[in-house]
Amino acid sequence: MSRTGLILGAVLTLLFTGAAILSLVWVPYDIEAMRIAERMQPPGAAHPLGTDHFGRDILSMIMVGARTSIAVALVAVGIGMGLGVPLGLLAAARRGGWLDEIIMRGNDLIFAFPSLLIAVMITAVFGAGAVNAIIAIGIFNIPVFARLARGAALSLWTRDFVLAARVAGKGRLRISAEHILPNLANLLIVQGTIQFSLGILAEAGLSYVGLGAQPPIPSWGRMLADSQTMISMAPHMALFPGLAILLTVLGLNLMGDGLRDWLDPRLRRDAR
């Protein structure tokens, strides 16, 4: 059962990642050239997904848009993981100390705000654009990873192999890096996949309100926003970017769930 989800999720994810990578070397049409005469054509032989209000090929736009979405989400999750995990490990290593308090209360502070609201705030202050969107999405990923890392690390700290390492005279930071972190890898991969899908959703949301990647860089969210007033005339303009967002996020979520079941030894034992 979970295998099916995992495979379906992986296929969808590969499809969109593949499209994004392919767009680096080839797209059916140049997405920067505007052919006004060919605008709003329904899906057909020349344009499999139709054209938008500037006559640009929607398939090409979605392929390049996949690149934007994936790049923004990937870097943002990278920021969240890169800062959040060390912070969480540090907090666990100094459990109950003032450092633990400061780190975790700081995380609570970020957590207290709805994530998209922080993103809107950051892009409003520093200006709209892909880079600021990355930073914004990255920041609200930090507490997710910090909490996860701390929680899991705390239970690992009580295990015998950690005790052995302590007896051997290893420092707390070294134990965190050498013994705790490798045991967290599975969890982090699973959470990373889920956060990645949320990142794509957040990027689409920010672009939709005009705070994400700026034109001419294509973005799924902005394609949706652009098609809004034309939805009754050219529904395909909204349908395909919408489907792209839906399928990518669905794929990543299925893959995340599947990976968790597959990687987590306890769940696997239960399943049998």
């Binding site: 920067e32 050239a33 505007m34 006004i36 005469a37 605008r39 209000h53 500037f54 006559g55 200006g127 709209a128 005009g210 700026q214 034109p215 001419p216 809004q228 007033t229 034309m230 009754s232 005339m233």
Partner: protein, 491 residues
């Protein structure tokens, strides 16, 4: 039981409908909400859009075709040297608070507008006035420093409407004018309500009440019109929806001309755009047709200079900036920019700017000019571009009538500083001979087109979507106004 009750109710409703009286109220949708309600102290066109002709009136007023007609002044005499205007006010005009209109109000209004500390957004309209005096209750004399052929036109602007000293304190929240409608209420962020003024001096309005509802989002505007929540929407923001309204018998679509010269403004003080050759290259890189088609779905009239094509003195100067990317590249090379350059393109919210901007960026990229697009809200645009002059390129529509004079102001946001043009403008302001005036206007248009101060795109067309039964709406927009005084429902 329930079914029975429902049928009874439906029966009652169908019975009541034919008896209902002819409609006498109107909900007008507008995209922008006024910041406050004093047309004489703000640049925001949204104020005039609600209040001009409805609540406030001037000595003269614009007609639906842009002509200047008598307003509160019934007639006027002009001295032979063209410097002294004697206005004869109408009898029996009262403000909405009951006070009578007299020449003192005219003196107050004009003195307030031209005062040193005046907040008027168009002080230039009043700059030529030397003195204003009340000869008697209904006669006001205005003396100009120099003869000014455009003075009656100036007095028709929304910035020159007559206000009373008694009500000036609270004008920003509760405007008191002399018009056929009086102000009833303002729910900020939502709507402004006007009601018929029973004591109006002229022909009374046929509508009992009018509500202006503010809907900024084009999608919401579409939904509101479709659902008939609003019965008229001037300056309808999504031209792509017009064919749908035209095909629907419930609606009428009026497409009229405006005074809005839509331009790709260039910062004439910012290198490399300070080089006329580079500006010429930009102008030749632009394909107006594609922009009008792509951004406005074909609405609009192409222009080659900053002048309205429906004006008799307009000259077609588009040949100076034909679409010619090859020439554009050549000009860039001659200017030492063979590699092209990068500049900013800052865009306010309307679709002509946002969509037009994307097309402009693609066309400029084609000749090697890279643009960084930034989308701005109006407040930010006014702050950064208009006041801060921090931009390379921007797209905006100049909706004021006969505003070529802005090119004589070197501090104006695009910062064009040409003594030649300033001399022409000075000559125009004192010239009263119609023939010489039009000659000067032609020279002015040609001068700015030859200098390629900005790239001139198209004259904005104004689409109004309205209920098919509504009559008397203005199709054209000679000034920013939604004149409801002659609007009625056809029975």
């Amino acid at each position: 039981m329930k079914v029975l009750a429902m049928t009874a109710l439906v029966g009652a409703m169908t019975f009541v409908a034919p008896v209902a009286q002819a409609k006498s109220d109107l909900v007008v949708g507008l995209q922008l909400e006024p910041p406050h309600l004093d047309p004489t102290s703000a640049a925001a066109g949204a104020i005039d859009q609600v209040l001009y002709a409805n609540v406030f009136e001037g000595l003269t007023r614009f007609g639906p075709d842009g002509s200047v007609n008598p307003g509160l002044a019934e007639s006027w005499d002009i001295s032979d040297d063209g410097r002294v205007y004697t206005f004869h006010l109408r009898k029996g005009v009262t403000f909405h608070d009951g006070s009578a209109l007299d020449a003192g109000d005219v003196v107050f209004t004009l003195d307030r507008a031209r005062a040193e500390d005046s907040q008027n957004a168009q002080k230039a309209l009043f700059a030529g006035i030397e003195s204003v005096e009340a000869l008697d209750d209904l006669t006001a004399r205005v003396t100009l420093a120099q003869p000014d052929g455009g003075f009656l036109f100036n007095m028709a602007w929304g910035d020159a409407v007559i206000v009373a000293p008694e009500s000036i304190e609270s004008i920003k929240q509760s405007p008191v004018g002399t018009g056929a409608f009086r102000f009833k209420g303002w729910v900020q962020g939502d709507r402004i309500t006007l009601e018929r003024n029973p004591d109006y001096w002229g022909e009374a309005a046929r509508l009992d009440s009018a509500t202006f509802k503010f809907i900024s989002d084009p999608t919401a505007a579409f939904a509101a019109v479709m659902a008939e929540d609003v019965q008229a929407f001037p300056f309808y923001p999504a031209p792509e929806n017009l064919p749908q309204f035209e095909a629907d018998p419930r609606f009428q679509v009026l497409v009229g001309s405006t005074e809005g010269e839509t331009i790709l403004a260039m910062n004439n003080a910012l290198p490399p755009l300070d080089n006329p050759m580079v500006r010429r290259a930009v102008a030749h890189a632009i394909d107006r047709k594609a922009i009008m088609e792509g951004a406005m779905f074909g609405l609009g009239t192409a222009i080659g200079t900053h002048f309205a094509p429906h004006h008799p003195d307009y000259v077609d100067l588009m040949y100076l900036s034909d679409y010619d990317p090859e020439l554009s590249r050549q000009l860039l090379a001659e200017a030492g920019m063979a590699e092209g350059f990068t500049t900013t393109l800052k865009l306010p919210p309307p679709s002509y700017a946002r969509r037009g901007g994307e097309i402009v960026a693609a066309q400029l990229r084609n000749v090697g000019i890279e643009t960084e697009i930034t989308n701005l809200e109006w407040a930010q645009w006014l702050e950064e571009v208009f006041r801060g002059k921090d931009f390379g390129l921007t797209i905006v529509s100049h909706t004021e009538p006969m505003d070529i004079g802005i090119y004589a102001r070197p501090e104006y946001y695009f910062q064009y500083d040409s003594p030649d043009f300033q001399a022409l403008n000075a000559a125009l302001s004192t010239e009263t001979d119609p023939e010489k005036r039009s000659e000067l206007l032609v020279q002015m248009q040609t001068r700015i087109a030859e200098d390629h101060v900005n790239a001139y795109l198209f004259q904005l067309a104004v689409p109004t979507v309205a209920d098919a039964r509504l009559r008397g709406l203005w199709a054209d927009a000679p000034t920013q106004a939604t004149d409801l005084t002659g609007v009625y429902w056809e029975e």
